[in-house]
Amino acid sequence: MMLFLMAAGLTLVFGVMGLINLAHGSLFMIGAFACAFVAAATGHYWLGLAASLLVSAGVGALIEVGVIRKLYARDYLDQVLATFALILVFSEGTRWVFGSFPLYLNLPELLSGAVTLPGGLQYPVFRLVIILFGAAVAIGLWLLIGRTRLGIRIRAGEADREMIAALGVDIARLYTIVFALGAALAGFAGALVGSIQSVQVGMGEPVLILAFVVVVIGGIGSIKGALIGALLVGMTDTLGKALLPGLFAALGGGSGANAMAATVASMLIYILMAVVLVIRPQGLFGAKA
């Protein structure tokens, strides 16, 4: 679900703005740091979450206005380079401000602990909450894109940016909003993940790659694709890591089996992506690539 939050933001930015944003992982990290910092300063976890949304949206808007806006008319190449440069700036900047030691977030009473699911399975409350958040965001985005005026404009901007500008929509502002929204989703995901793991510089990068895989599998610009892609990738990854060692031990046995299983498990989602691409180069729910 966390993957979905991340991928939804990415796909929004990709699909609507036709922009490749490598700095999405940095926004993820910024959200996590904002949450950790504010939560530690005020003692309120919820304030931290709110801060992660606000700060990452704010930084996203700044990036859009300051850098990205100049690059829409350019090749992907310049966008890749610019966002790569942004990663360097943000990673080092964060290290400079917060130092290279990881921060930790304390969960409020309400969210820590475990519940017993029907069937007798113990499950941490917080992970359930993440799933709920994810579902809420999915529904919220679906409503936003499908049912509101802003959503109509976003979809129109996706289809033909000159035309909607000619119709009197302030396309520059629209793009800033979309980018900030994508950034806020990334930051929010960062804050949630930061609550489970530690908050540290560079935490956004592995997730960024995963989000890319999700977007590629789901199809660019499709929120539904991002959701299903995230579920697919998450399940494949978890099941692969859980089941493969047993499977390999049963098949081959020997001491190499374990290492082999770990290797294959870590590659499994990329294999999944390759398979999807061979069958459908535009992703499962993508329009024409």
Partner: protein, 331 residues
Amino acid sequence: MTRETIINLAIFAALIAFAIGAHLMGNGFAVTLATKAAIFALAGVGLNLALGYGGLVSLGHAAFFGIGGYVTGILASHAMSGTPVLTFPFTLAGSNDMLGIWPMAMVAGGLLALAIGALSLRTTGVYFIMVTLAFAQMVYYFAVSWPRYGGEDGLSFYVRNNFPGMNTFDPIQYFAICAALLAIALVFTAVVTQSRYGLALQAARQNRQRTMAVGIRPYGVLLVAFVLSGMIVALAGSLYADLNRFVSPAMLSWHMSGEIMVFVILGGVGRLCGPVAGAAIYILLEHLLGDVSEYWQALLGLLLLVIVIYSPGGLIGLITGRLPDRKLRNA
């Protein structure tokens, strides 16, 4: 001679002069710096073939760089311990000989590029960028979780490999080897891009439909460029492994892909010596900014941003002006 040719020669001459000057002053560290620049330039030249001339924005070239490095590391470490690399299906002994290692690194890189390229080229635009990136990550995770050759810790091999008639431990001699290979790669690129095939490749970048209309299948043309590019980058990876006498998954990480791409863009995309200028300046900046601040990467990032926004043609573009047609496939 056009203005650009003169600049190209000047850039290459400057690199050589820098290394020789440093050698004469007895500054071995600066020679090594120049060697590093030459190796990264070679990687950039490789990527430039796909990216600059073929319009293939690949963010996965670290995979080829790394595999070149790993082939070198694996062969050298086996030669050291005297054990064969393979016993099945054929026996393959370890090797310490650069002349033997290079072709193997290039073949490995080429085969990997063939596999990745064949799948990735089914897609275009943003998809292509992400797919190449994801495949490179796959190789990266493979290296990290494969304990036999060091896994996450990497693989050291202590002794630099041999080249007949040369003492590869002498910094200036090793620089000579790297610079010579760089020169060969540059000439190769110049010849290829001006050949019939090179023209087809550039046509495929500019307009796929039209290329098909004149009877050329872009897929094959682009795939060949991708494979050649992977082979050159793998060779650079092999040299880099020898420079450090160490390979690690860091060579495969996507930061590496980003850096190789930065060399190319910094110098000028689709310019023969662009990557050479880019790599040299990157290494220099890295070194100089490292003295200024502990957080030099942030400064480097800001500098890159300024260059991207205000100088789309890269550094060579600043001098010669924009090429008339530099549109990459953007859809």
